[in-house]
Every structure is written in C-alpha cells, then in structure tokens.
Amino acid sequence: MLNSENAQAQMRKGVLELCVLSVLKNGDAYPSQIIEALRETKLVVVEGTLYPLLTRLKNTGLLAYRWEESTSGPPRKYYRLTPEGIKYLQELQTAWHDLVLTVNKTIQ
C-alpha cells in the first residue's frame, strides 16, 4: 500500500514558502527563530530544510538580511521581507485561501 506520509511531506513542503514568508511578516528573524515559530505547525522540524529555501528567496529578491552580533557565537543573519516579498506573500495568501476553499469543497 502506498504510504501517505510521502504525500503529506510534499504538501508541507509546498506551503513551507508561504509559512516562512508569513513568519517574517511579523518581524525579522534568523533561521532558528523561524523554526521555533513553525515547529507547532509540524511543517518543518529541522533547520536544514530552511537554508536552501531562505537562500533561494534571498537570491530572488523577496528577502533581505542584515548581520547582527550574537553573544553565543558568530554573527547571525536576520532575514526580513523586501517590498517585493510583501507583494509576493499577499499573492500567495490569496492563492492559498482560494485553494483551501476549492479543495474543501472537493473533498467534502
């Protein structure tokens, strides 16, 4: 029998980008803070998943970062949304709500 876990993981991965951007909308954060925020959603449990995503979002101009000194190690990268990022997030949110509505209708 096909295991549904893989499908679930794919779903989570799909909405990860939306969630990360949403977390950053509430304020600047560095990767482990983002993880903290996302932990309850069970979307992501390890930081490893975040690095490729953050780097890609930064390279496409949706995110920017600043260095901040840390007491417990090397300086940290604090990520924030750029204006393009905010716009992109809004588009994603709209799309997500539409998707949820139609999907709910379909599966009921």
Binding site: S32, V46, G48, T49, R56, N59, P74, R76
Partner: protein, 566 residues
C-alpha cells in the same frame, strides 16, 4: 584518552574528538553534495558552518572544552539529515547527487605529495584505482623481490606522472568534486593544524615515522622492512615445517619414541607443543608485523595487541619452564647398583659378545670397530624397547680369580624411583672357567628413559691369556693395552694380561707405534716418540712438535748438516 583536533568554524576555534571530527566532516561533505548544484551553495555552506559554530558554542559551557559525538548528533538533530537540504529542483536523492558529481569530476592520475615513501607514485595510483595505498605498496615491493620489474616501472611512473601541487589537483586525484573546494580547503587546513599539534605533542617515535619527510630515511625503512619481512617469512616457513614434523611424529618415529620415553604424560607433551608454538611463533609473527609496518609506513601502534601478545608469550614461557622443570625432576636423584661375581678360570679364556642387539633387531655394529654407543629403539612382539649399549672395561685383577662387576645406574624423581629404574635394567652374561659371554645391550622394559646405564668391569688375573672374539670390536676401543696397537685391532687377537694392562701376543706387524727410543753412546743424539734432539758442542738442535729450534753455543754454522746426518 582521546586525541582531539582543533577546527575553525566561522572564526571560532573548537577542540573536537577525532571520531566526532570525522563524523562532522562526513556530515558536511554530504550536505555539500546535496546543495552543490543549488544557487548560492557556498553562501549556504557558510551559513551552515556558522550555525554549527553557534550550536557548539552554546553546548560548550564553562565545564566543557571538547566537542564529542553527542554534540555532533545534536547538530544533526537540529539541522536535519543531509537529505533535508535537498530541494525538488536540485537533487531529489543522494544517489543521483553523487552520480552527477562523479560523472562531472574526472579522476586524474597524480603523484601524492601528502603520502609518499619515494615519489608518492603508489599513493597516487591507489587514489586513482580506488585501492588502499598499502596494497599498492605491497604489490610494488613483492614485484621487486619477484623480478625487479617494478623498480623500472616505478621510476618511469615517477618521471611521467605529475605531482599534485594544488588543492584542485588533489581533488582531481581523488575524483572529488572541485566545487566543494571551499569547505574542503577549510578542513584540509584544519587537518594540517592537527598535524602540527601532533608534532609538538607526540613523542619522538611518531615523528620519526610520520613527519620526517626525509626520503633517504624512508627508503632505509622500506629496505630494512623488506629484509625483515623476508627473514620473517623464512623463519615462519621453518617454524611451520618443524610443526609439521612434530605432527607427523605421532606415528612410530624417532620423535615420538623419545617423547614417550621421556615425557611422563601426554598432557605435558601437549603443553610442551603449545609452549613451543607460543614461544617461537609469537616472536616470528611480531617480526613480520613490525616489518610490514616499517615497510608500508603504518604508524599504528596497538598497545593492547603488544601487551596481550607479550602476556601470551610469557604464558608460553611459563609452560615451557613447567614442562622442562617437571621433566627434569624425573631425573633428580640417581641410584647405582653394583653386583660383583668371582670366577675361577683357566689360564686361557675367551671373551665373546652375545648379540642381543641383533635379536632385538637393533642397529648393526660398526664393523670397523667404531663404538656407536648410545640408545636405540627397537620393536619386538609389537612392543617398543629402548636398548642401551653397555660399556666394557677390562683391567688387571689384583688376585687370581676373574671378577665381573655389573654397575647399573639410573635416575629418578627420588632415590626410590631411581633405585627401581636401576633394578629394572635387564642385563645378563654367562661365565664359566673358559670365559665370558656378555650381552652387548641392556633393556629396561616397562620403564621410561631415565639415563639408564650399564658398566661391565672385568678384572682378569695377571698372566691370563685372553682372546677376544671379533664381535667384541665395538666395545673394546677403550680397553687399555700396553702394546700400542690401535684399539680396534684388539678383537680377534690373543692378549696377555700384565700388571700394566693387556699386551698383544700375536700382533706382530700390527704395532703401529712400537716404542722408539734410540740414543747414541755419548748421549748427544736422542730420537724418541717426541722428536729428535741433538746436543752438540756448537749448538742444541731439537725437532719436535714445537718445530725446529736451534740454540747456538758459539758459532753460527752447519746446523742443517747435523740434522741430515741423523
């Protein structure tokens, strides 16, 4: 006690246990494989390293200084498996990642400057062929001893193959992806630092083998190692042959005969064999091991191995001492049983041997009269016997009767046992007024070998004529005789007993060394057994075992003439 490595992560220094170091390195390598094709891979790696540094910094409190395996596992928990770093577009699974990388990076043949005995050819070949360098070196060395071929092959390869000078060369040599150079370089530098630290802290033997990059020294090591290896293999072969010999000796052979004759139980025999294997085998094995280490420049010191081998060797020594001690104890005391009989005899007697040795299928006596002596194993009615040759002594008697003294001697664990062993000796002879018939050998059935000996002393009245049978020959080479006949000729002749010993009656022509004593009437010239001596008024001349000596009295002349005259 663990070795630690010092690493630098994002400018922070950490001491890390060796095992944790390799785990962390492997982890980072794997991650870099997954993200190598993603955009901004280098930046991402820097971020990851930075995050690791942060995590470690937090983990290292006041009480801890060294990063261990638990910390690395903790990092894994937080950061996730390397596969988590994959994105759909870049690398869905690890196999694909590795394949794409290794297809891209073509391996190139370099000489390896980081691991060389002479030119680094073997380690380069090993990296290229993906074979452990040790095997390549071993093959090289064996080929040298086979035909000397590999010397030329090596020299040609040394000339032809370029040396890996840059880091990129080294990655190409191992076939590792070059776009990971950054992180690799980091680790390489850290490894170098690790090496330096080792040099400072390690005792000298480590430095000798590992860090001294003097090619002459290394070459010497290889040559000495190869020599020791050949020696070790030779000794091993001899050792195995000897073991095979002992194994075969379980049948009815000289070895097994002596074994059952001397060793009191089969247990102690087994123990003796074990002791032999341990005492001889372990040093040979260690020699070969050391030779291989020297030759292949392995700097691995296993203290446990050395200590336990030494301990086992000592156990072997203890066993050997126990076996030889208990065996020697069986010979501790000795006993002598003397038994004398007197006989009235005719004026003429004969002495003859009763050849029991022939009955017992023993060795044939040497016809030329050589006393073969010693002990022999014989088999009769499916029973094994040890047969000893008696010793015959013939002396003049101090009265008118012939006396025969049989002296039986033997050893034993105590005097009673020794006495029993001596009594257990079977030796007989018959005597009548015409002479003696003596057994040539003795046996001790049912007894083990405990140095049993029989001495037969025959005292013959002076004036008696003795004729020895020819078969006496092996036994009377020690018989004293005044006739200076070679002892072997005593047999088969007739002899007269005198106060000085036997004198030959019918030995005319056999006297090889009749007493010589010639003197001129003035007493100036003397010729005897020792030499020729001339005492002239001019000089003293002597020719003997000391050479030719001339002591002049007044003038220096004519010494040769004088010698010629005589």
């Amino acid at each position: 006690m663990n070795k630690t490595v010092t690493i630098n992560l994002s400018g922070f220094v950490f001491h890390i246990n060796e095992d944790a170091y390799s785990a962390l390195q492997a982890y980072l390598n794997e991650i870099s494989n997954y993200i190598a094709q993603q955009e901004g891979a280098e930046e991402m790696l820097a971020d990851i390293e930075s995050r690791i540094a942060e995590l470690l910094q937090t983990a290292m409190g006041q009480n801890r200084q060294v990063v261990d395996m638990n910390d690395v596992n903790r990092i894994r928990e937080v950061l996730g498996n390397p596969a988590d770093f994959a994105t759909e577009g870049s690398a869905p699974n690890s196999e694909a990642t590795e394949q794409t990388h290794y297809e891209k990076i073509k391996k190139r043949l370099f000489r390896n400057p980081d691991d060389q005995v002479l030119g680094g050819v073997c380690s380069g070949l090993g990296a290229y062929l993906d074979v452990d360098t040790t095997w390549v070196r071993l093959a090289m060395v064996l080929l040298v001893s086979a035909a000397g071929l590999s010397i030329w092959v090596y020299l040609v390869l040394w000339l032809v193959i370029p040396i890996a000078t840059t880091a990129a060369d080294r990655y190409a040599m191992r076939g590792e992806p070059g776009n990971l150079e950054n992180i690799m370089k980091n680790f390489q530098e850290e490894a170098k630092e690790f090496g330096k630290r080792q040099k400072q802290n390690m005792p000298r033997y480590q430095e000798m083998g590992q860090s001294v990059l003097n090619p002459t020294f290394k070459l010497m090591g290889v040559i000495v190692g190869a020599f020791l290896l050949l020696l070790g293999i030779g000794l091993l072969a001899a050792f195995l042959m000897s073991l095979l010999g002992i194994g075969i000796a379980s049948g009815n052979t000289w070895m097994s005969n002596w074994r059952s004759a001397i060793v009191q139980s089969s247990d102690s025999y087994v123990m003796a064999i074990c002791a032999y294997i341990l005492l001889v085998g372990i040093p040979i094995a260690m020699l070969i091991y050391a030779a291989l280490k020297l030759m292949l420049r392995i700097n691995y010191r296993n203290r446990w191995l050395n200590a336990s081998l030494s301990l086992i060797w000592l156990i072997g020594l203890g066993m050997a001492m126990y076996v030889s001690g208990t065996t020697l104890m069986q010979f501790k005391d000795d006993a002598r049983i003397r038994e004398t009989s007197k006989y009235a005899v005719n004026d003429t007697i004969s002495i003859k041997m009763n050849n029991r040795s022939a009955i017992y299928d023993g060795p044939e006596m040497d016809e030329e009269g050589g006393h073969t002596g010693g002990y022999f194993f014989t088999e009769r009615d499916n029973k094994n016997y040890i047969m000893g040759m008696m010793e015959l002594i013939i002396v003049p008697a101090d009265n008118d009767s012939l006396s025969v003294t049989i002296l039986r001697t033997a050893n034993g664990s105590d005097s009673r046992e020794a006495n029993r062993n001596a009594k257990g000796i079977e030796y007989t002879y018959t005597a009548n007024n015409k002479g003696l018939l003596l057994d040539d050998v003795f046996i001790f059935p049912g007894r083990q070998f405990r140095m049993q000996e029989v001495e037969v002393r025959v005292s013959i009245p002076i004036g008696t004529v003795v004729s020895f049978d020819r078969n006496c020959r092996p036994f009377i080479d020690e018989a004293e005789n005044v006739s200076h006949v070679w002892p072997g000729k005593v047999a088969g002749r007739r002899w007269l007993m005198t106060s000085g010993g036997l004198k030959c009656i019918d030995c005319q022509g056999l006297e090889s060394e009749e007493e010589i004593n010639v003197q001129d009437k003035d007493g100036k010239v003397l010729i005897n057994k020792k030499g020729i001596y001339v005492d002239d008024e001019n000089a003293k001349v002597s020719i003997d075992a000391n050479g030719i000596r001339v002591v002049e009295k007044e003038r220096v002349e004519k010494k040769a003439n004088k010698e010629d005259e005589k």
